[in-house]
Amino acid sequence: MSWIKDIVDPKSRAWEEFYRNRNQCDKVVRSTHGVNCTGGCSWNVHVKDGIVGWELQATDYPELEEGLPPYEPRGCQRGISFSWYLYSPLRIKYPYLRGVLTDLWRAARAKHDDPVAAWASIVENEASRKSYQQARGKGGFRRSSWDEVEEIIAASTVYTIKKYGADRLVGFSPIPAMSMLSFAGGARFMQLLGGVNLSFYDWYCDLPNASPEIWGEQTDVSESADWYNSKYIAIMGSNVNMTRTPDAHFLGEARHNGSKVTVLSPDFSMTSKHADWWIPSHAGQDGAFWMAVNHVILSEFHHKAQTPYFMDYLKRYSDTPFLVKLEERDGVYHAGRMLAADALKGYRDEEHAAFKYLVWDEKAAAPRMPLGTLGFRWQEKKGEWNLQMKDGRDGSDIAPALSLLAAKDDELQVAFDDFGAASSVRRGVPVRYIETTGGRVAVTTVYDLLMAQFGVNRGLAGDYPTDYDAENSPYTPAWQEKFTGIDRANVVQFAREWASTAEKTEGKCSIIIGAGVNHWYHANLLYRAGIVSLMLCGCVGKNGGGLNHYVGQEKLAPVAPWATIMGALDWSKPPRFQNAPSYHYVHSDQWRYERAADEARIQPVAEHNAITAGHTMDHQVRAVRNGWLPFYPQFDRNPSEAVKQAEAAGAASNQEIVDWTVKQLAEKKMKFAVEDPDAPENWPRLWIIWRGNALMSSAKGHEYFLKHYLGTHTNTVAPETAEGSVKEVKWHPQAPEGKLDLVVDINFRMDTSALYSDIVLPTATWYEKDDLNSTDMHSFIHPLQAAVPPCWESKSDWDIFKGLAKKVSELAETHLPEPVRDIVAVPLQHDTPAEMAQPEIRDWSKGECEPIPGKTMPALVVVERDYRNLYNRFISLGPGARGGIGAHGLSWSIEDYYDEMAQGPDTVEWGGKKYPSLVDARDAAEIILKLAPETNGEMACRAFAAEEKKVGLPLVDLAEPTRGVRTTFADLDRQPRRLLTSPIWSGLSNDGRAYAAYCLNVERLVPWRTLTGRQHFYLDHPGYIAAGENLPTYKPKADPSSLQDLVVTPGDSRSIMLNYLTPHGKWGIHSTYGDNHRMLTLSRGCHPFWINDQDAAEIGVVDNDWVEVCNDHGVVVTRAVVSARLPRGICILYHSPERTVGVPKSPSRGNRRAGGHNSLTRIRLKPNLMLGGYGQFTYGWNYWGPTGANRDTFIRVRRLDGEPQW
């Protein structure tokens, strides 16, 4: 074969240097991407001639234990396209200011020497205010200077603080873990001001409420390597191969290691390809599938065969043996509250007896009080908060009964709601009668209630199904067919395989779950149904087992020191942290477009009573008044003005100021701002957005944002319908448009939020700054580093906020020269004794109880702000940190470390004192690494020692072997470092073991942070009982007729109504990457609308046709992809397109620019997720609260007439 050439003529191959030259580069720098993808991948950025050329993955991860596949390489198609942004025409190189505002500002500054006066002259003139508001989003940017834009922002800040109050300033930046210091810079700035930081995890609908409900934990999951340990993996609502790209290999590899993979998905997804079983269950009906699986597991593995491993697990680690009172109403019994020690003579004098719950002791044939429940957590005597099954009074062993079947006094008929059929069934339950201080009560166990709820026929009377084929009896395999479309035989087989795998492997079954399930209105129930199957089979707290929820990069590993810096807690506390779903629901006026009657249909309840009735807005107001949820602005007046008024009325001490405030509220002389959010004094005024796309990709109800926040053009046509059905809030006939005085966006690319902001500040990209990054998908911590300096005029986020702080301090010299006292309202907090505040729901505003701050209403705290020294404080780690840092109700001392740092080389000095330096993000990163138990072995030992004291069992041994570890930023540059085992988290990762959630609880008997200290099947909150969600249950998908999506949008034969799904997609992480050339080239040059082939045929749409997708909220125009891969009745527009790239105009909405995916959504808050002040249902920022659910949305789609217009 003559054409095979040997190396005989090097000259003829000298040309080969052509390609060699390209490959050569000058340096390689380790960095990563701060993008909320959960990837947290280590990347090598290649720099050639001072220009970033390309990136490739690092492959030097330390290995985990023998038998696990390695992590390398991590990084996906999106991440590897990042270098495109740096020098692209989309890059923001300079500060920009909207032209209309530029002219106004320059004219005002010519007239006013004082910038604050200049700002006042613009915003206090309605015509000038409107003129720049209406120009938002419509071009006309002008290049400005840092000096000019900093001055405008600082002037607006100072103006707002003086005129309306600091709690009218709001900052939004999501997901700190992706670039912790960039987040912290802005949050620190806002909190030093007294401004508000909005939550993100719940707003993004990433928060799985079932996790706090069951485990008292925001989220804790296994790292992806642990999937490999799982022998039966059920995937639902998560498209691992599409959205967990760097981790998907563990799934594929687990298959080859003999794991069975099942995928529940309505469409044939990328992940379905890896399934043994693709279970094409109907969209949003996963809960019904799992309810039936649980029926089979309970019937066969609990009732017929009492699987010893499962029984033992439940007794130790769940609330199943705890006693629940049955309450009679109208001749029928209902499951009620848990029986607590205060009801029994022998126990009633125990400290916090009302929060020490009881089990039935088989041996003693009496109720007993095991350790580890909530009362033990907060009692004076420490060391009894653990999971030993011992009596808290005398330390004797308890043999808890799961069921009272063998020891019953009686059998009572109990009512169980069947929401699927809008009826209820009566089923017999075994009970004991117990003499309590309040008389004789019938009690049963949580386990017995579960058996009855799931319809396991144990020979008791009542509406029990006779077999699996009972179609109308919840929750049999036959029952679920009408909801899921999956054959009953498959459910039975699935349940058997699942449970027998768990039995053989002691818990190595897992669920990988995500946004596809979590974004439904009833997501908490869908999740609970699945988690029940895990708990019933002893799969939680086991390697290879558990619920692996991956939605959002929520795990910020070194959280304790980071939180101190981020919240400026080293200078003052409490911070103003607000749950964003409530904030936007109220302030963007989306509540005005709902009817109470429709909401009641979306959320069927067990009891129509004072707890469940009313408009969602009324629930929201109650939640704020009762201290369940935060809300800012707090009051109808400036909080520092309120302090002055109290002082004028004679209040001298902080306590007297608080007392005065309570009195004003009680007498309704002062109102909560949430009671009248449309009054101008209660509007948010200045919004700073950074690291996120708050106006588009996360803005559920985007068009309402444009209308009510920005005051610019909107495509919504929805009618306002709340008038008459809201009772607790003042109705203004005319909704305000343009509440915000100033919107500032910090960005490296011109995304939709930047396009609609007044000021755009150029920020350094992820290859141009130092920062830290962690995730729950793996157990390493990564640096972001500057491969090249910040390009053009960009600066890092930390430096941007530092600059703003300096400018504010300068203006404060004149405007706020003295320290200012500010009263801060904060809700009842999780992981504090406030978990015992409200076992009953009583409304002080209705006279049902006294208004007591921190008990029946929000806590009120007077703090002092020092605006002149704002900058100094920003760059210094304040003395407040010295006393200790911590998280999750655990703290430990760092005095020696603080003092050493304050004497060291990296300090700042002002006011005659030296402080550890926070001048640069890198300084802050070093301090975090030095103080975090996850990166400093000494800190881990201290944290475990503190935990030992509370728990009363040995724990420090977990950290001893790595006590000498000290990780620095330079170490992270050298090689990825694995996080140390820490009591802030619940997994054990010693010696390369894969991190799996709750192993610490299971192996070391550390309680979960719940009412019983165990995992909860049963939620005895009165609000949950009223909602009918005290037991795991099924609630139907919302019917389109009650959703108010299509009230005025016309329907005709050329259009079709579809359920609108927006799952995470392949070509972007949220909106990032999805606008870049690489991703658009590989994805049809747009973000297409996926539709089933028959649905498409019905409206005459063929592949790649332009379509117009409408509902009352807004409109999207894009091209269609037609595929039988999707079932009929649903459509997919993958999250999250920008409306900035290739979006034509919409003929049906006045030929205006069409929107993005969130133009078609609106927030719907689920009221029982607002409850608070009791056990695990107590507020934590990003831990608890209603989520921004968006799956229950319907649209109409039609072919676009004619050619698209631009």
Binding site: I4, G75, C76, I80, G1142
Partner: protein
């Protein structure tokens, strides 16, 4: 006997997640230039689907590869004489519509638009003409598009199935897709090399990498036609053709090719194979159904002392022989027999092999309910894709080849299940191994290579011995002293 060393590859399609990270790693490094915008040396296709360029597998249209004429092999495009006649008019040449017109957007408008009464947007524009354009094709147009009556239905492999089989593939019960990543196969019997009128294309003797000499290429584009995989591309600004270079500059530095390095599904394996170049034509002349086996047969055993001795005589360095013994490709292709060539019937003897994907069990509709086959794992008989389709892709239509692979993959899963859970019947596990024709040790080794390997075990780049290559032309010390000096220049154009 003419022993040669070839850097070869295996793509494990069961592990492929269709993410396209490989494509972008390649694009960033090699084809992010004017004139190269539309080139995707590495691309990933959804199967069933039509691919890039569209329907490239249809050689009745594109005339790529070789055909058997009696006992002689000739280029489907025609012999050398015929080729010359096509230099100025070649109807089988793919045009821009077969690839796509590269597009971008007027991003700058977002920042520079003057104040107006509506929101600005960045319109799509052609990268060729700079003018606004309609986007109607792309390099990955039918991504994830199973069940498409436009694309999946026109997959040349699907078209060959029976009507009934085709219908099944568009019902939800049978819905299925998988991914096929493709790069240059660096074939032993490369059509591109044979077709080049300028003699600009050659296989490197030391590693078999096929390159187009950018100084010698005169842009006749016969290689574009003759490559049945459509993996050579014409650069419309330089007037020269380019193709995947298997990242020889990276390999020379001991690094994995960029697409291999970046493969986050960890599906890519690379290593040296030894083969007998004297037998190429004889192998390529086999019947379609025997081609996969014949191609395996040409690969020599690097552990065989005789082969080693012959190889040394042929000048293959000891270090390369060592690498050949560590080659994962040898194990997958020869020892375990689970990797097959793509379209062996094109007769170019491609040196990239694929492990076919295991797909979910089939279901059937039962009164509006989906009823899944009740097998615990996916099986040969109940898989969603007809074996015939896979055999058409990887075995010249020989279903037995594909079945044999599946039996082995299933045996691995059963053995691992048995070891790690212990809930399978031991006799069944043993029977599966026996059917697969693999020993317990082989199954374990296959499992480890599939699941547990580190990058250096997956990708065994042979030492490229650059100092010796350079020494053939100049003193390596002198080379070291002078390397890198000089100005960058584009390759010469001849006219």
């Amino acid at each position: 006997m003419d022993i040669r060393a070839q850097v070869s590859s295996v793509f494990h399609l069961d592990k492929c997640i269709g993410c396209h990270t490989c494509s972008i790693a390649c694009k960033n490094l090699w084809t992010d230039r004017k004139g190269a915008e539309y080139m995707w040396w590495n691309n990933v296709e959804t199967k069933p689907g039509t691919g890039y360029p569209t329907r490239w597998e249809d050689q009745e249209q594109y005339r790529g590869g070789w055909e058997k004429a009696e006992a002689v092999l000739k280029l489907k495009l025609g012999g050398r004489g015929g080729l010359l006649g096509k230099i100025f008019y070649n109807p089988a040449l793919p045009g821009m519509d077969d690839y796509y017109e590269p597009f971008t957007y007027k991003y700058g408008d977002l920042i520079s638009s003057p104040a107006g009464n509506d929101q600005p947007t960045a319109r799509p524009v052609s990268m060729v003409t700079g003018k606004p354009m309609k986007i109607e094709a792309g390099p990955n147009w039918d991504d994830d598009l199973s069940g498409s009556n436009v694309y999946a239905a026109n997959d040349p492999g699907v078209v060959k199935l029976s009507d009934e089989e085709q219908q099944q593939m568009f019902a939800i019960e049978k819905m299925v897709m998988f991914y096929l990543p493709r790069i240059c196969n660096h074939c032993l019997n490369a059509g591109c090399v044979a077709s080049c009128p300028s003699g600009a294309i050659y296989k490197r003797g030391e590693d078999g990498i096929v390159l187009i000499n950018q100084d010698k290429c005169r842009g006749w584009r016969m290689c574009v036609s003759a490559c049945p995989y459509k993996k050579t591309y014409y650069g419309w600004t330089t007037g020269k053709s380019e193709k995947c270079i298997l990242c020889y500059p990276r390999q020379e530095a001991g690094e994995a090719p960029a697409c291999f390095h970046s493969c986050v599904g960890r599906i890519r394996y690379l290593g040296v194979l030894l083969y007998d170049a004297d037998r190429i034509e004889e192998v390529a002349l086999n019947e379609d159904r025997d081609l996969a086996a014949a191609q395996r047969d040409i690969i020599l055993d690097p552990f065989d002392p005789q082969v080693q001795a012959d190889a040394r005589r042929a000048g293959i360095p000891e270090q390369v022989l060592q690498a050949a013994r560590q080659s994962p490709v040898y194990k997958f292709v020869k020892q375990w027999g689970v990797a097959l060539p793509l379209h062996p019937e094109f007769r170019t003897l491609p040196m990239l092999f694929y492990v076919p994907p295991m797909l979910p069990v089939i279901s059937r509709e039962n009164q509006g309910r989906q009823q899944l086959a009740d097998e615990f794992f996916t099986t040969l008989e109940k898989a969603r894709l007809p074996i015939r389709y896979l055999a058409g892709l990887f075995a010249g239509g020989n279903e037995e080849e594909v079945k044999a692979v599946y039996r082995r993959l299933i045996a691995v899963r059963m053995q691992r299940r048995s070891v790690s859970v212990g809930d399978l019947d031991a006799a069944e596990v043993a029977k599966a191994a026996e059917l697969a024709g693999l020993t317990t040790e082989q199954i374990d080794a296959l499992y480890r290579m599939t699941a547990l390997t580190r990058i250096k075990e997956r990708i065994v780049v042979p030492p490229m011995l650059r100092e010796q290559a350079i020494e053939a032309g100049m003193d390596p010390e002198e080379y070291k002293q002078g390397m890198g000096f000089g100005s960058r220049k584009a390759p010469k154009r001849r006219w």
